[in-house]
Symmetry: C2
């Protein structure tokens, strides 16, 4: 069962993070606790699972990739801490975001400001911790040369590319939707979400096969990147068509924020001037009645945008599945295929 397997991955990663000495150096105590907070809050552990299973797929064992998997998880978490600062989000995984949680450690009118500063430093420390974890890989038999290659890849894919994607996303609300090419959003998805997933898969694959020139490494990287972009397309879709009671964010939130989603851009691009005007009139309102939401759904549907993005999403999942099917059958391949099934059917 995939769920059992993911729980196993979670337990392994948590054990590894809790026994790693790096956070013990951190002072003061409130900052040390903050550094451990997000990584130990749980989450689905999809990224470390990718690393472990891609390693197992090529070598029969996930074990040598354990530090790489933990590094990917901590890296993901520092980007969340800084992303929450940028978005001023109050909630992460059902608990206060780091900059809100840290307020408990300060008093006085400046407590929010101090908490934000500590959250900034918390993410900085987690970036260092992620690197330190990966650099421990030789303890599990990974060669120094390969560890260096992985560490450089972490900086380029998960550093330069991911943060570039975050920056493009951050600056998107400043632009007029009519001036944004939908391909720029696809490009942003590839950087912001795809790059770390590519690293997660390629790191596991590299450790599994031991050779940077093995073509299976890039193929597994492609699989992970495709899945990541499909995941983001589904996010856009569920933002308007999801089940309110199950989807984490209120339906219509993207419309209210005037968020430049791929769905919105495709709808504007495919609609006639009258429909385009109606769509624009539905953006950035204070409140949305069920009729408003239905009108939006109908407009996005009528112009073909919804169907086009569903087709695009399905095509991405299919390509990801095809890559996996090109590998001989094995338990890790089954896990990875089940993961695709789970993610492509999610309704929340």
């Amino acid at each position: 069962m995939l769920e059992t397997e993911l729980l196993e991955v979670g337990k392994k990663i948590e054990h590894l993070l809790q026994s790693d000495p790096f956070p013990d150096r951190i002072q003061p105590e409130s900052l040390r606790r903050a550094v451990l907070d997000y990584p130990l809050r749980g989450g689905k552990r999809l990224r470390p699972a990718l690393t472990l299973w891609c390693c197992e797929l090529l070598s029969g064992s996930p074990e040598p990739a354990a530090f790489a998997a933990a590094a990917v998880e901590v890296w993901h978490n520092w980007t969340l801490v800084h992303d929450d600062l940028i978005d001023r989000d109050p909630v992460r995984r059902g608990q206060p975001t780091e900059q809100f949680k840290l307020r408990d450690d300060f008093s006085g009118p400046d407590a929010p400001r101090y908490a934000e500063n500590f959250a900034l430093l918390c993410g900085d420390l987690q970036q260092g911790w992620a690197n330190h974890l990966l650099l421990r890989s030789p303890e599990l038999g990974v060669s120094p040369e390969l560890t260096l290659l992985l560490a450089r890849k972490l900086q380029t894919l998960a550093g330069a590319d991911l943060i570039s994607g975050e920056a493009i996303d951050t600056a998107l609300p400043l632009r007029d939707p009519d001036q944004v090419d939908p391909d720029q959003v696809r490009h942003m998805f590839r950087l912001k979400t795809g790059a770390l997933l590519r690293f997660a898969a390629e790191a596991g694959a590299l450790i599994g096969c031991g050779s940077p020139d093995d073509p299976r490494v890039t193929r597994l990287g492609d699989f992970a990147e495709l899945a990541g972009i499909a995941f983001q397309l589904r996010d856009d879709y569920l933002g308007l068509y999801g089940d309110f009671s199950r989807f984490g964010k209120p339906i219509g939130g993207d419309l209210r924020e005037g968020k430049i989603t791929l769905l919105l851009l495709e709808a504007l691009r495919r609609s006639n001037p009258d429909a385009r005007k109606q769509i624009r009139s539905l953006l950035k309102r204070d409140a949305y009645s069920p009729e408003d939401l239905n009108r939006a759904r109908n407009l996005f549907h009528a112009c073909g945008a919804t169907a086009a993005l569903e087709t695009e999403e399905n095509h991405l999942w299919t390509r990801a599945r095809e890559i996996l099917n090109s590998f001989p059958d094995s338990p890790p391949r089954q896990h990875l295929l089940s993961l695709i099934t789970l993610l492509s059917h999610r309704t929340l």
Copy 2:
């Protein structure tokens, strides 16, 4: 001449940074420019000089430490970018701080907020860039094993320790000066300033001698840390006794901010209740007349705090010099000794 040597170091580092491909991956263009900005603004390049000269001291050549030296400089700069965000400083090296400079790339009322977000991401990227530079060291003949050791050290000394020091410093203004042990400030200096200088020296020494067990590595690390702490003590001193026209910040700025300096803590600890009351009355005023400043100087002097810290500072410089003198004479030893002379005599 030391100045010529430092200019040479600066030129070498700038060339290396400008030819490194890492920033080319960064998007959008405004963020790529921001990542290069601080590292190319100049500065004294003391940290990369330490790395290069410690390498030359043990091996006769600074060359194999070039990437490590560049990494130290970029690491220093990301901590400045995030430190300027925390302190909301408007000026760095005579130009707008990154979060002010980036405002030019945005328009509208939210420009300052977007600029801050980009400055946050700029520092994140520079941390990755610094790591990536160091990880290129094998191109200069450094062994993969040693490069891994250096990369782990960078995370612990320049990551965990330095950022812990920054956090302690950040939270200091929240505390009552009577409740702060002066040794906590010394501890903060060791972490915030000493740790990166220790890394800079030890990285060069390790590359120079090639062996992690060579006792000269720790000795050169001690030298750099001692110099760093002495430098901070001098900063405190110049904040009250420096020459207004030459010192970067207005004299008395520390008093106005009520900054918890070692000088203040030692003065409070050594004064009788009446003098203590007078000192406290001189903190956090809106304006300081020349008489106010003289009164503060006299109070700090009369209780022995000023002399005690001067003695402490001189003792640190002497110990740093003694370590260098235990090495055979050579041009890099001369440069390092001249550096101590320069820093210990600075009046601005």
